[in-house]
């Protein structure tokens, strides 16, 4: 029995093939059918350039690449054609130089879908930056993006070792990125309660250290 992370229902069954930490019920798994197919791709045949394997890989990976690229470009306000071109860039990157990038993938370290999502996002961001550099006149850039931070506002430095790396990351996700506890828990593969208690302990340490120095 496990609790589906997608819809919250309790289900009996095997773990999600791509990522043992992500437990999804049948309904959620059906939605990720492409991801499951992706894990059945013969990577050796793909890396030697088999046309049939490449076609199957494209069919299985297109939903994921499309979703990642679309999301990454959403903040750049680019057109649908740009989404298509950026997604095509991902595939070009994968098969360029005799599939060099694809050959660097190590199945022992991460699932193909996760690695592909990381590659897709970085390719999409590179694409957006190139497009912005080439096309955006200075007048179209929001003023906030060009603003320089006022360095006269003195900020207290957090002494090294006061917070753990994990505590710092959780506080940054919660406050700098303004994400909720559930999102941070999903990212770090921990319980929401663990996020809350880590956050609480980190703030106790900070308050204790900076007592009387708070601006």
């Amino acid at each position: 029995m496990f609790l589906c992370l997608d819809c919250g229902t309790t289900v009996a069954g095997p773990h999600f093939a791509t990522n043992p930490d992500r437990l999804l019920c049948g309904r959620a798994q059906n939605g990720n059918a492409g991801v499951t197919e992706l894990n059945q791709i013969d990577l050796r045949a793909l890396a030697v350039g088999s046309k049939r394997t490449w076609d199957a890989f494209v069919v299985a990976s297109t939903p994921l690449i499309n979703a990642v690229v679309r999301r990454a470009l959403a903040t750049y306000r680019l057109s649908e054609d740009d989404v298509m071109d950026a997604a095509q860039d991902v595939f070009v990157r994968l098969c360029a130089n005799d599939f060099r990038l694809l050959k660097t993938y190590d199945p022992a370290r991460a699932g193909l879908s996760t690695w592909l999502a990381v590659v897709s996002r970085s390719t999409a961001v590179d694409y957006a930056r190139r497009r912005r550099q080439a096309a955006t006149p200075i007048d179209d850039v929001p003023e906030a993006a060009l603003a320089v931070e006022d360095r006269h506002v003195e900020k207290l430095k957090i002494p090294e070792g006061l917070l753990t790396e994990r505590q710092t990351l959780i506080l940054k996700c919660l406050y700098d990125e303004e994400r909720d506890v559930a999102e941070v828990a999903q990212l770090l593969k921990i319980d929401a309660q663990t996020v809350r208690s880590t956050h609480h302990k980190a703030l106790l340490r900070l308050r204790e250290h900076f007592r009387g120095e708070e601006p």
Binding site: N19, V35, V59, R109, R166, K172, E177, Q186
Partner: protein
């Protein structure tokens, strides 16, 4: 009027602190994927935690990807797959299938081009066979020739078949003259 200071909220306290002291470090795509899946050792994960904490772009990437990978994916536009499939074509397949020199001499069955060549060769054979049959065929031609040698025609007996070499032509001349 109270002189007691109002304590800062958790968020304000955090924002009043300088938190970007660590220089961002480069993280490979493979390491980042392994970190996202929680597959790294504690020490390796801490290294990526530092990098993600220090780099707002990496934080946003991590949160976005974690969200996408945990949800059903929308259907992509069909032309996306069509364009991507066109990137790897016949040449790559041919290179992949190359085994020995003998294998390279044999036609590669199952590929479109080989099938086309086979069909053309078959059609050529059919056309040749039909033409040959209509023209009488080799057997019939030989039988006619043999029959002509044995049968007396206008009192003239051909002792040898009509040939193309000079000797036969002269022989034919003498035979005709008699």
């Amino acid at each position: 009027m109270s002189t007691e200071r109002t304590p800062l909220s958790d968020k304000d306290l955090w924002r009043s602190l300088a938190t970007d002291q660590v220089a961002p470090t480069a993280v490979s795509e493979m390491d980042f994927a392994a970190w996202l899946e929680g597959r790294l050792s504690e020490a390796d994960a801490a290294r990526i935690d530092v990098a993600v904490s220090a780099n707002p772009e990496m934080r946003r990437a991590a949160l976005e990807l974690s969200d996408i990978l945990g949800k059903p994916l929308p259907a992509p536009p069909p032309r996306l797959a069509v364009r991507a499939q066109a990137l790897v074509g016949f040449e790559a397949e041919k290179r992949a299938g190359r085994g020995s020199w003998l294998a390279s001499l044999l036609p590669a069955f199952g590929q479109g081009f080989a099938l086309q060549r086979g069909a053309l060769a078959g059609m050529a054979i059919v056309v040749a066979a039909v033409g040959f049959t209509l023209g009488g065929g080799l057997g019939e031609s030989y039988a006619t020739q043999k029959y002509a040698m044995k049968q007396p025609s206008n009192g003239v007996t051909l002792s040898k078949p009509l040939g193309r070499d000079t000797t036969n032509e002269l022989n034919d001349l003498f035979v005709d003259a008699t």
